[in-house]
């Protein structure tokens, strides 16, 4: 894990850029996660003092939202839709396959740091279920075979 000292300048810069924005906490957290890949727990004190909030309040916001994470992700993040439409097209089999192939459960990262696996509830791609995303790309009608070939492609990338 990176030392917060090397990340602090980035965090302070993001805080400074949002100084006058109303309701700025979520945009700040997005800014930090977009840049660093996660929200370092050590950043909470800086965020809290900048916004005049308690550290508990900031931590409460980070932990409330599924999207925010406080540990570094793998090189690629795989999200599998668990919602009803995907279930109707057998996403449960796809989930089991993915966990087995990657050797991890949800909210975990492979030992080689290549992939993190997260559940997601609806990608709005319900017309072509089951759906997954890898980083910012969405894929529809994903069979276990298609999943394997996508993994192979991203593993090299």
């Amino acid at each position: 894990m990176q030392d917060y000292q090397t990340q602090q300048a980035t965090v302070l810069e993001i805080l400074d850029a949002h100084r006058t924005m109303p309701g700025s906490l979520l945009p700040i957290l997005h800014g930090i996660q977009d840049t660093l890949g996660y929200i370092p727990p050590a950043a909470v004190a800086d965020i809290a003092s900048s916004l005049n909030l308690s550290q508990a309040e900031v931590h409460g916001v980070i932990s409330f939202y599924h999207y925010f994470r406080d540990t570094p992700p793998g090189k690629h993040t795989v999200r599998i839709c668990r919602a009803e439409s995907c279930q109707s097209m057998n996403s449960t089999a796809l989930e089991n396959h993915a966990k087995q192939v990657l050797g991890i459960d949800y909210h975990e990262t492979t030992a080689d740091q290549a992939f993190s696996l997260e559940p997601v509830y609806c990608l709005g791609n319900c017309a072509c279920s089951p759906s997954i995303t890898i980083d910012d790309q969405v894929f529809g009608r994903v069979t276990p075979d298609k999943f394997d070939s996508l993994l192979a492609k991203f593993k090299g990338a």
């Binding site: 997005h30 916001v61 939202y65 919602a83 439409s85 109707s88 609806c122 017309a127 995303t133 529809g140």
Partner: protein, 514 residues
Amino acid sequence: MTRLFISRDSTALSLGAEQVANAFAQHTADRGQSVQIVRNGSRGLFWLEPLVEVETPNGRIAYGPVQEEDVASLLEAGLLEGKSHPLYLGNIEELPYFKNQNRLTFARVGITDPVSLEDYLVNDGYKGLKNALALQPAEIVKHVTDSGLRGRGGAAFPTGIKWNTVLNATGDQKYIVCNADEGDSGTFSDRMIMEGDPFVLIEGMTIAGIAVGATQGYIYLRVEYPHAKIALNQAIEAAYKNGYLGENIQGSGKTFHLEVRSGAGAYVCGEETSLLESLEGKRGLVRFKPPLPAIVGLFGKPTIVNNVISLASVPIILDKGGEYYKNYGMGRSRGTLPLQLAGNIKHPGLFEAAFGMTLRELLYDYGGGSASGRPIRAVQVGGPLGAYMPESQFDTPLDYEAFAAIGAVLGHGGLVVHDDTTNLADMARYAMEFCVEESCGKCTPCRIGSTRGVEVIDRIVANVDKAKNTELLRDLCDTMLCGSLCAMGGMTPYPVLSALNHFPEDFGLHPAKA
């Protein structure tokens, strides 16, 4: 120059539209053919995506579904002249699935370049705003009231009444908030509007701002929609540059500013008060009502919170008048609803129709039955908090009141189709599990009830004190229904009880004893 249309819609992209567009660019360049590739929205015929349309003297001729490897043979066969090929579909607008729709809100989606203001203007864009700028605020609100438009987000509250409350509220600042946290499984109409015609949403919000005296708008967009965010921001930038947003809009002296804010993966933030908390930078905890957000809303100021489709329906109402819009529909459900066919269905997609069609027509005449070819057993309408409807209810007309009368909800118009391999006790358990995952935690019936609900369903299925636990599940559902602060806990019983009532055999119960 020949124009080709290849979608930039997420679903088209998820099936390879980007690669197809790149292949067309490459192959036509190699052949020295001069083409312009327009990245449009999607017509919503998703089983045909990636769809490629070519502009010809006989209209737009479509081919699909097209994969990268089909491109060479399509060009060889004369796609640029609209000639025949195994993937040839003919004039897209003549296909029954498209032709038989009433496209009011989605009039431009799939047709125009979503981020071209010029394209928007030549296709009747900003006509509603032009009319609105010539009216008094109360007259604008009256058009919306007369149209009979009800919130398309799920609760179906009359939009005109909400606007009137904000118009009459006093405050030094008012806000327009667009709820773009479309989290229901089986729904994608908001996404399609934002990716396929973002200007119509921007125009609707601007009209709302002028109608009630709000100078700032926010679009609260779920983080799962990155392509929508790109399209919205491109369109907002173009609107600012050309005097359709900002100070002194089109020389009217009116001001309206607009910004996109990202959510962070919380389903409950689709509830209007928790959405406001989230926009303020807090955990998305549901607020007690009253006070209504129309009176004490964002940052404590009077606020309109409307769904994407509600706001996107406003420009045509102001363009053609409230009466025009009202002429579509039935009973107290006026206008059109963009229905979304998803799950196990042969022809999934978006179908905009006037209220009043039956579920059966939609599922079989247009949806073509299940994708698996097996019998359709249940359809969940209105998202994860909607009821599972059995075949015996498929003749229900799509109308808010008709659905309410049988304990179902039309909600946001999403239909998730399940064939006979789906176990409804599993789906009931999932509904409770989803509530555990997504409850904001503020009220006990939702927070604790959902956890207990999973356990009780597990006991019923495991055949432990079956009769007693079935009674307990009904009792628990009643408590959640009556005692929850918002629809998250208050409607989770809909899928659970409908599964129990219509499919008791899946719980190991005798039909008569359920």
